[in-house]
């Protein structure tokens, strides 16, 4: 069986977090009733108003292009892409065709311990279309309804080079992209709500071959998992078409999440004829060097650089660094804890095992987390000082997570302070030994298990507050005497 290589290029659309649309003052809030966030301009009504560029959207696009290592244009144009579709009110979409904001960038992904650069062909700004609402699925629905709330919402489109070689790389790329875009806070990148959408151009070729073969474009993948599964299925489908000696037909295909298959939507044989030309109502827009410099300065440290710092400066294992730096807020939180308690690996363990587990199980975002970073630091210090045991600390941590109380208050309220006074513990040890002669006997016969039981009894007596090292030490001393 011949070996094939998969060639994938992605087109990712991301809705920007601006309050208003790209060319009018309508709100961009998600989830409003259909056609309530519209005006004559975004509805394409004749004799309405003229488009007025939202500068915040331009700033966000520049920020994204910079974060994706692109070259930034010194002048951008807004061009019309002309076509008819019911979700397109003006009969054209305003996009950037001749002079996009950014070109020739890259995103680095980590795969099996090595890193790989996925090229970014361009980053440009455009307006979103309306949304067609269907009865059931798009193919069987007898009619469509149109909601124009989304029409005119600013989008950036990120087009990759055909550098992606597997569904896993596609997924990793998207996750990295989302992470970067969330770091710079230009989009919430929610695939389920459609604020991040991904189309994949997929083709296969014999391994070792260099030219690009006929591709299909895959749409409707609404999660990272769907992107992975959709591409995986489509690659398999193309492979079996080729193995049967047939040709892959250029077409747009639709991912059916429920059935787990891709379906043909429309042929791509007739090449698109968009008649692009500069929008005469929007003169070329200059990007002054000082403004670009200002924007560049506002970009925070990005995941890659943070990852290197976390593995280098803090000596974290790559796995920890990857997880902690995937979200800017988590990484910020981690570093905030470190300022009060400088034990990088220990803090990482607590965040990765305890904090993230609770955040996930309660569906809470890190920004809504009630535990203040300095309080987590205090808690960890208390373990080190022997004020409380690690086991008790976990209970205190859960209480802090639920109530936001300070660890010292919880410990005081519940009397959880560790008993580290030798005399106190010695008395309890004596009474336990007196009360369990059978176990003492067993221990002396060489049954080491009995020691564990006796420790447990002491802890039970002290409600877990006794310093376990001390209990062990005292028990052994008395038994071995």
């Amino acid at each position: 069986m011949p070996e094939f290589e998969t060639v994938i290029g992605l087109e990712v659309h991301v809705e920007l977090l601006t309050n208003t649309k790209l060319f009018c003052g309508c709100s961009t809030a998600f989830g409003a009733d259909p056609n309530t966030q519209v005006c004559p301009l975004c509805l394409g009504l004749p004799g309405g108003t003229l488009p007025k560029l939202n500068e915040k959207a331009v700033e966000y696009t520049i920020k994204a292009a910079m974060a994706l290592n692109c070259r930034i244009a010194d002048e951008i144009t807004f061009d019309r892409k002309n076509y008819y579709y019911a979700d397109l009110p003006k009969g054209f979409q305003i996009s950037q065709f001749f002079q996009p904001t950014g070109r020739d960038g890259y995103v680095e992904i980590h795969l099996d311990g090595r890193s790989k650069k996925i090229g970014i062909h361009q980053v440009h700004l455009e307006e979103d279309t309306g949304k067609l609402l269907h009865m059931g699925d798009i193919i069987s629905s007898p009619y469509s309804r149109v909601d124009f709330n989304r029409a005119g919402v600013p989008l950036i489109e990120i087009v990759t080079e055909p550098d992606i070689r597997s569904p896993e790389e596609a997924r990793l790329f998207l996750q990295k992209l989302r992470s970067i875009l969330r770091y710079i806070a230009i989009s919430d990148c929610k695939m389920e709500e459609g604020s991040m959408r991904c189309d994949a151009n997929i083709s296969i070729r014999p391994a070792g071959s260099k030219e690009l073969r006929t591709k299909t474009e895959l749409k409707n993948m609404n999660s990272f998992r769907a992107v992975f599964r959709g591409i995986e299925y489509e690659v398999e489908r193309q492979r079996s078409v080729v193995m049967e000696g047939k040709e892959v037909i250029p077409q747009t295909r639709h991912w059916d999440e429920a059935k787990g298959i891709t379906k043909a939507m429309r042929s791509k044989l007739v090449s698109a004829n968009y008649r692009c030309f500069p929008d005469p109502n929007l003169p070329p827009y200059k990007l002054p060097a000082e403004w670009l410099e200002e924007i560049r300065k506002s970009i925070p440290e990005l995941p890659d650089s943070r990852y290197s710092r976390f593995t280098g400066e803090y000596g974290l294992p790559p796995y920890d660094a990857e997880i902690l730096t995937a979200s800017r807020e988590i990484a910020d939180y981690y570093e905030a804890v470190l300022t009060g308690y400088n034990e990088p690996k220990s803090v990482s363990n607590w965040i990765m095992s305890e904090l993230l587990r609770l955040l996930n199980s309660t569906n809470t975002g890190i920004n809504d987390c009630k535990i203040k970073p300095e309080d987590l630091g205090k808690l960890l210090q208390m373990i080190d000082k022997g004020t409380i045991s690690g086991k008790i600390a976990k209970g205190v941590f859960e209480e802090m997570f639920a109530t936001g109380k300070k660890p010292e208050d919880i410990i005081k309220e519940k009397g959880l302070t560790q008993i580290s006074d030798e005399d106190t513990i010695a008395k309890i040890v004596d009474s336990v030994l007196a009360g369990n002669p059978g176990s003492v006997e067993d221990y002396r016969k060489g049954k080491n298990k009995a020691l564990g039981f006796l420790v447990g009894q002491v802890m039970k007596e002290t409600k877990g507050k006794a310093n376990p090292q001390l209990v062990n030490k005292l028990l052994k001393e008395k038994l071995d005497r």
């Binding site: 008819y84 009110p89 054209f92």
Partner: protein, 486 residues
């Protein structure tokens, strides 16, 4: 009393000293409108109620029009592709025959502020494209000089008959100036961006301007002063403030240097009589102290074709929203595609469809580089040529159109692209320069003399027009509408 004596200044006096009642004035204006409409089909909408209300407001101090408003007592009309929320705004198309726009145009609001009264919405070519009198859904406008000939548009006929003091209409490749030339009135297409395009239902945004027509230079200047200026809602609008043209016109003018393209006689369908008249005018101008220089403008002759290609592509895109989905005319279809096709087939005239098809063709992947891209390059060349010429001279002088108002069956080059009527006018649209047409009343139908000026230098054009106007007596026809007059 004939209609031309109906002047805004006299009217202002009569209103102030109450020698005239609002009812008298309204009924007189409405009856004049009706006569003009009946005879020449100049209007698409006239609303007697709106006219009466506006006039009452002039008389009523409480309504705050204020007789010191610069255009107090001036009446005007708007081309029917300029949005007014009170009137239907049809673009002379079946597509919009019942459409009321959501907002008022910037110019409408400015004129209201300045105390002018709107008389109605004037007839025009469908979507303001062309000036041949063939494509209005409401039928063509008859030329008051000779009703067998076209007036070009209703704005020119309304000014000529005196039913309004001035009118506003759009100019894509010279339509405003051509119609003014056909009717023998003054017209000014200002610099691109001098008047906000907000509320103009335009077909070709990069070429199209709102322009003005009037029966004399001072009215033109008064109207321009009212509507010119920066509009933050139109990003293509000029940033600079517009001057008070009226007060500047009072100053003395320096000696003007005028350029004339040496091959001005190469225009197709150029009338022989016009050659003599134009040469006569050049002599006259020299006598008035305007120095004439013949210059070479090798690409000027391609301006109409260039503007036709660009305007057709932009119109194809600008008019893509007319799909029957959200507003305007909608045909029934079995599915979306059929609804689109039938809506546009039935809603647009065959002339417009031909034009849009041409725009679709020259911007298609196959012809994009050879036609559309070439036209864009040519536009830069023509612009550069004109700007260089106007660096050295104050204005460029040409006829406005190569021929007078076309009559039945004698429309020159009707099947041709480019439109031969735009031979002299289209260059100003390509370069975004101001251009003014001065009326030449001759035996029979009138001609026009066009001055094209530097960017933002409308003043020089107005000064030149005033100079000529003061030396000539214009022979406006005396229309007999059997009206009582005011």
């Amino acid at each position: 009393m004939n209609n031309r004596s109906y002047s805004a200044r006299q009217l202002k006096e009569q209103i102030k000293n109450k020698s005239l009642s609002p009812q008298e004035l309204s009924s007189s204006i409405i009856s004049l409108c009706n006569s003009v409409q009946e005879k020449y089909n100049a209007f698409i909408s006239i609303d007697p109620d709106i006219i009466s209300k506006e006039i009452e407001a002039l008389f009523d101090d409480k309504l705050k029009v204020g007789d010191n408003a610069p255009l107090f007592g001036f009446s005007y009309s708007l081309g029917d592709n300029i949005a007014t929320s009170g009137y239907v705004t049809t673009c002379a198309s079946k597509m919009l025959s019942t459409y009321k726009p959501p907002l008022d145009a910037h110019v409408f609001l400015k004129l209201k502020e300045n105390g002018a009264i709107i008389i109605g919405k004037t007839n025009m070519e469908e979507f303001g494209i062309g000036c041949s009198g063939e494509s209005s859904y409401f039928k063509g406008v008859k030329n008051p000089w000779n009703t067998k000939h076209t007036a070009g548009n209703g704005a020119a006929a309304a000014v000529l008959t005196g039913v309004v003091n001035f009118s506003l209409a759009s100019d894509v490749r010279g339509e405003l100036r051509q119609a003014a030339s056909y009717c023998g009135v003054f017209a000014l297409k200002p610099t691109y961006g001098r008047i906000s395009r907000r509320g103009l239902l335009d077909s070709a945004s990069s070429l199209e301007n709102i322009g003005l027509m009037a029966g004399n230079t001072m009215d033109l200047a008064a109207a321009l002063t009212a509507v010119a200026g920066h509009d933050p809602h139109d990003v293509t609008s000029l940033r600079s403030e517009a001057p008070d043209y009226i007060s500047l016109l009072e100053g003395n003018s320096k000696e003007l240097q005028a350029a004339v393209p040496e091959n001005w006689q190469d225009a197709p369908y150029l009338e022989d009589e016009l050659k003599d008249i134009f040469q006569g005018q050049l002599k006259k101008l020299e006598e008035l102290g305007i120095k004439i220089h013949f210059v070479q403008l090798p690409h000027f002759q391609h301006s109409s074709l260039t503007a036709t290609i660009i305007s057709a592509v932009e119109a194809f895109s600008n008019l893509a929203n007319y799909d029957g989905v959200r507003f305007g005319y909608r045909a029934e279809g079995r599915h979306l595609q059929e609804m689109y096709t039938l809506t546009r087939s039935e809603g647009f005239s065959s002339k417009l469809k031909k034009f849009l098809t041409f725009g679709a063709l020259v911007s298609s992947a196959k012809y994009y580089n050879d036609y559309f891209l070439k036209a864009q390059k040519l536009r830069s060349v023509i612009t550069k040529e004109l700007e260089d010429c106007l660096q050295r001279y104050d204005l460029l002088l040409t006829p406005t159109t190569p021929f007078r108002a076309p009559g039945p069956g004698i429309l020159p080059g009707r099947e041709e692209l480019p439109d031969p009527a735009g031979y002299y006018t289209a260059a100003a649209n390509l370069a975004g320069l101001p251009a003014l047409t001065y009326p030449l009343h001759t035996k029979g139908l009138p001609y026009g003399l066009q001055f094209t000026g530097k960017k933002e230098d409308e003043l020089t054009l107005l000064k030149a027009a005033l100079l000529l106007e003061n030396e000539n007596t214009l022979a406006f026809p005396n229309f007999d509408f059997n009206n009582q007059g005011v």
